[in-house]
């Protein structure tokens, strides 16, 4: 087990190749002892009786043929314990906060195992984030994976933090934790997150994994897996409801591409590896709720779309795996609206199972659909107004045009600390809908109009 090999024959990018080893297991954890006394870690990517390929997490700088390689005989495992809460760890799971090593209650394979679809509980518990564009029109539920699709320079971090701060299941007092994994974000961004966690006391119930922009790219491939392993442990062994924030998926995919290139693989679209879908799925799919267990893992990842292009392979493949997406819009941001969430391309696939009577309110879906329809039409009309002028519009169309403005100004816009309850959100919805003639509210059942429409309610 502890045999040290000095048979490196080739070093290429993050990879090293060795010969004449005893049989080595695929995916095994590897320790590499450098001549200067430092140790690096790696993982077996390809193993045969003749040659073994290892990817080195901390990069191959300083490695030479004199370096010794020790195979651990096991796959990469994360020591886990409830004491992880409040700790800051590196992207590879080592303490960064000066505290002691984690005393493990268990050691778990970071790759996780796929959940048997038969054991899954369909997610249906409403999570209130306090943000109207999410709660009202793209509702998040426990066990969902809902990423934020954003662009460079947009306030996605603030939105993520606001969600982490405010998220709760109304009327529930169950244990709640946040697992935060930074992948290749800048030191400054990381500090911004940490400061907020400390200020709000959120750190006490958080586990933080930091792989920063200047940390080795290869390590990024392990970081989210570490975080999700910790999350699963807290959720399924300690009955906690865990919100996992992964940022930034784009950096993760870049690392994946870098590795693929180093391995001289046949590239897929835009040079990303052909298995990127499967690889991303192995992260995203680790959200969920299991029948008969109390905890849950909910994922909220941040993804910056290169060039704001939603058809870029990273957002595209993500969108096919995740249960919807929250799209941050540059246009709204330029208008000075916070949070600049464009509800039209946004979607929560699990919304229908998390809302309605007994969960949020009976009129929720109707109100949401009506606002969607009105806002979509209003935005189309803006294009028309640019050509023919507002006067050329019929009275009905003018009303809808105004509605789109109201929607952005009152429903979308809210304060950075404004925590709207679902009742508040729906109230704002009704307030702006009541500016439209009642005959235009075709998607709302009459019984809800009588029950909630301000004009009827006051009677």
């Amino acid at each position: 087990m502890t045999k040290e090999y000095k048979t490196i024959t080739e070093i290429s990018g993050p990879l090293i190749f060795l010969e004449k080893t005893e049989p080595v297991g695929y995916g095994e954890l590897v320790h590499i002892n450098l001549p200067d006394g430092t140790t690096k870690r790696g993982q077996v990517l390809d193993t045969s009786s003749d040659v073994v390929a290892v990817q080195v997490f901390e990069g191959t700088g300083g490695l030479n043929e004199e370096s010794g390689v020790v195979f651990s005989g096991e796959t990469i495992k994360l020591p886990v314990s409830k004491d992880m809460l409040g700790r800051i760890l590196s992207g590879a799971g080592e303490p960064l906060d000066g505290g002691p090593r984690i005393v493990p209650e268990d050691r778990i394979d970071v790759n996780g195992a796929s959940m048997n679809p038969y054991s899954r509980m369909p997610p249906e518990d409403f999570i209130q984030t306090g943000i109207s564009t999410i709660d009202g029109t793209n509702t998040l539920v426990r066990g969902q994976k809902l990423p934020i699709f954003s662009g460079s320079g947009l306030p996605h971090n603030e939105i993520a933090l606001q969600i982490a701060r405010q998220s709760k299941v109304p009327g529930s007092t169950e244990d709640f934790a946040v697992v935060f994994a930074a992948m290749g974000i800048t030191n400054e961004e990381a500090q911004y997150f940490m400061e907020d966690f400390e200020k709000t006391g959120a750190l006490e119930r958080a586990v933080v994994f930091l792989n920063l922009a200047d940390d080795p790219a290869v390590e990024r491939i392990i970081t989210p897996r570490m975080a999700l392993t910790a999350a699963e442990y807290l959720a399924y062994e300690h009955d906690m409801h865990v919100l996992v924030i992964l940022t930034d998926i784009t950096n993760y995919c870049e690392a994946l591409r870098q590795m693929g290139a180093a391995r001289e693989e046949v590239p897929g679209r835009r040079g990303y590896p052909g298995y990127m879908y499967t690889d991303l799925a192995s992260l995203y799919e680790r959200a969920g709720v299991i029948k008969g267990r109390k905890g849950s893992v909910t994922q909220f990842s941040i993804l910056t779309m290169p060039g704001d292009d939603i058809t870029h392979p990273i957002p595209d493949l993500s969108g096919y795996i995740t249960e919807g997406q929250i799209v941050v819009s540059r246009e709204l941001h330029m208008k000075g609206i916070y949070p600049p969430i464009n509800v039209l391309p946004s979607l929560s696939r699990l919304m229908n199972s998390g809302i309605g009577d007994g969960k949020t309110r009976d009129d929720h879906k109707a109100v949401s659909d009506q606002m969607y329809a009105g806002y979509a039409e209003g935005r189309d009309l803006r294009g028309l107004v640019a050509i023919v002028g507002k006067e050329a519009l019929s009275e009905r169309d003018q009303k809808i045009l105004e509605f789109a403005d109201l929607f952005e100004d009152r429903f979308v816009r809210q304060g950075r600390d404004e925590d709207r309850s679902i009742e508040d959100t729906l109230q704002v919805g009704w307030d702006i809908l009541s500016e439209l003639p009642e005959s235009l509210l075709t998607r709302i059942d009459n019984k809800y109009i009588e029950k909630y429409h301000p004009a009827h309610k006051s009677n």
Binding site: G25, L45, T278, A281, T311, Y320, E377
Partner: protein
């Protein structure tokens, strides 16, 4: 024969020391992980392994089963939920808990369950491959026919009757060949049929835009491509729920776990509109989610279609939904790239097109070996990257399938569901099915539909003008066209899959709805010609009331009330 592992690289394992045939199933490593031989080179062979290979080392043993990847066919398939290689997920959960471990085998059919077998042949009869020798009541409404395996024939020496387990002998042929209720069939080989027909009956789905505008025939093929969030999965699930076939095989291929959980939860509770029994009783589910091993994903599609063929051979109409064929193609690409094969377009293997057509070719309306008429309708979802239909999987699929239901993200964003674009979708079955519609729906159904399609086409042209000059600038008759089309879109094409009544729309109701819109159109046209101002025609109240009749339990009653009112209102306008 025993051999050993030479190399492990993810799901691709190279073995040596045994001489397997192509597509033989082998067990690799100490844990006996299941895999399939996909390349032979000298004394080495390459195996795609259906389970995670972490920790597997060179030198570990390999055992060849000598059999190609097969499924078990027999009573007990219905109501089952399998992974990609026909392991029942429920049994896996019992054996290894909530997470899928590896190295666990599980029989596709329950060996303990006892079935009542009633023979339909007697000793002395001679039987040929595919012939029915007896029946088993598999579920309340499905009679499972026990057939002689296609490759077997002979004279019956002994035939039993009574209660048996699937692997017990129920029939002995002269020469000692024993038959049980279960047979195995290699998934990559289509089951033989007597002959194939041109499909002439429509698949009724209860979805207005599908049945009405772009019908698929029983035994036909259809593709649903669309970007994410455009409603592919909901459409597929609607088809699985409401299609008027006897058997439904639903393959969740590389899709979301939570979605599969939803299906698994919902199907047992839903009722078959035809029989009132739980839908699950006619359904076989195959769930291989995106994070389950990629090689098993590649196999899942074949597992599904083989099960479908088996029921087709009994004379049933089967519909098969594959969600999504793109994930299947990606699994092929992933394995191909690990084999370091020369890539074709966008990294997909050069045989992508061949594999896709082989798969869709297994659909069809047939006369089976036992002279029964059955069919398989294949409906494949396609997930084109970036919603770009020019990518290889969509293009290769379109070359094969006869029906194209194009999902559109723009429609989805304005909550127009099902968001099937009526301008780009097509069905090549409309002509072939015209006679059926004339006979079984109404003689004027086809002209009604053609007229609606024509109007919608006109609308898209008119919309371009409206975008430039506004709708008020159009002549009145064209404004009327726009209004009729709005009604067609909102009252007829839009359908709410989550509404208890609207989720399923019988053909008769579709006809009456379309007829009602057409009636308004005719009356409005006449009124316009007799000089009544457009404003008055548009302000007809009953026209707007028509919007809600599709949601009514008592559809006919509600429609009658609205139509009577419409007659009165038009009469009140004068003119005609």
């Amino acid at each position: 024969m025993k051999g050993e592992i030479y190399r492990v690289a993810g799901p691709v394992v190279t073995i040596m020391g045994i001489k397997p045939k192509m597509y033989d199933v082998v067990h690799v490593g100490h844990e006996g992980l299941m895999g399939e031989v996909i390349r032979i080179e000298g004394d080495k062979a390459t195996v795609q392994v259906y389970e995670d290979t972490s920790g597997i080392k060179p030198g570990e043993p390999v055992v060849n089963t000598g059999m190609s990847l097969s499924v078990e066919l027999g009573p007990g398939l219905l109501e089952s939920i399998y992974d990609g290689i026909q392991r029942p997920l429920k049994v896996l959960q019992e054996k290894m808990g909530d997470f899928i471990d590896r190295g666990v085998t599980a029989n596709g059919l329950d060996r303990e369950r006892v079935w009542e077998f009633k023979p339909t042949v007697s000793s002395g009869d001679s039987v040929t491959g595919g012939q029915t020798i007896g029946i088993v009541q598999e579920t309340e409404n499905i009679e499972h026919k026990i057939m002689v395996p296609p490759t077997v024939s002979g004279t019956i020496e002994e035939i039993k009757s009574g209660k048996f387990k699937v692997d017990e002998t129920i029939c002995v042929l002269a020469g000692g060949k024993e038959l049980s209720m279960m047979q195995k069939w290699p998934v990559r080989m289509p089951r033989p049929v007597d002959k194939k027909f041109i499909p002439r009956r429509p698949l009724i789905t209860g979805q207005r835009i599908l049945d009405g505008l772009f019908p698929v025939a029983k035994g036909g093929t259809a593709a649903i491509p669309g970007p994410f969030g455009s409603g592919k999965t909901v459409t597929q699930q609607q088809l699985a729920k409401w299609s008027d076939t006897d058997i439904v095989v639903y393959i969740g291929c590389g899709e979301r776990g939570n979605e599969m959980a939803d299906v698994l939860n919902e199907f047992p509770e839903l009722q078959d509109p035809k029989t009132g029994r739980p839908l699950m009783e006619r359904t076989v589910l195959i769930a291989n989610t995106s994070n389950m091993p990629v090689a098993a994903r590649e196999a899942s599609v074949y597992t599904g279609i083989t099960i479908a063929e088996y029921y087709r051979d009994m004379g049933y109409d089967v519909s098969l939904m594959a969600d999504s064929s793109s994930r299947w193609a990606e699994a092929m690409r992933e394995i191909s790239s690990r084999l370091e094969e020369m890539p074709g377009e966008e990294g997909y293997p050069a045989y992508l097109s061949a594999r896709l057509s082989e798969f869709y070719e297994r659909a069809g309306a047939v006369k089976s070996l036992s002279a029964e008429e059955g069919s398989i309708t294949v409906i494949g979802a396609v997930s084109p990257p970036g919603g770009d239909f020019s990518e290889p999987v969509t293009q290769n699929t379109l070359r094969i399938v006869k029906v194209f239901w194009a999902l559109d993200a723009k429609l989805a964003q304005r909550r127009h569901f099902p968001s099937i674009d009526w301008l780009t979708s097509y069905s090549l079955y409309t002509q072939g099915l015209a006679d059926w519609f004339a006979e079984n729906v109404a003689p004027d159904w086809v002209p009604l539909r053609d007229n609606a399609m024509d109007l919608l086409q006109q609308e898209s042209e008119l919309q371009e003008i409206v975008q430039l000059v506004g709708s008020d600038a159009l002549p009145e008759d064209q404004q009327l066209v726009l209004e009729i089309c709005r009604m067609l879109r909102e009252y007829f094409l839009q359908q709410n899959a989550f509404h208890p009544v609207d989720t399923y729309c019988p053909f008769d109701k579709q006809y009456q709805l379309l007829k009602a819109i057409s009636k308004y159109s005719d009356m409005a046209q006449a009124a316009l010609e007799s000089g009544i101002p457009m404003k008055d025609i548009l302000s007809i109240e009953s026209k707007d009331e028509l919007a809600k009749v599709k949601f009514e339990e008592d559809f006919e009653g509600a429609l009658n009330v609205v139509m009577e009112k419409m007659d009165k209102e038009f009469a009140a306008l004068g003119g005609n």
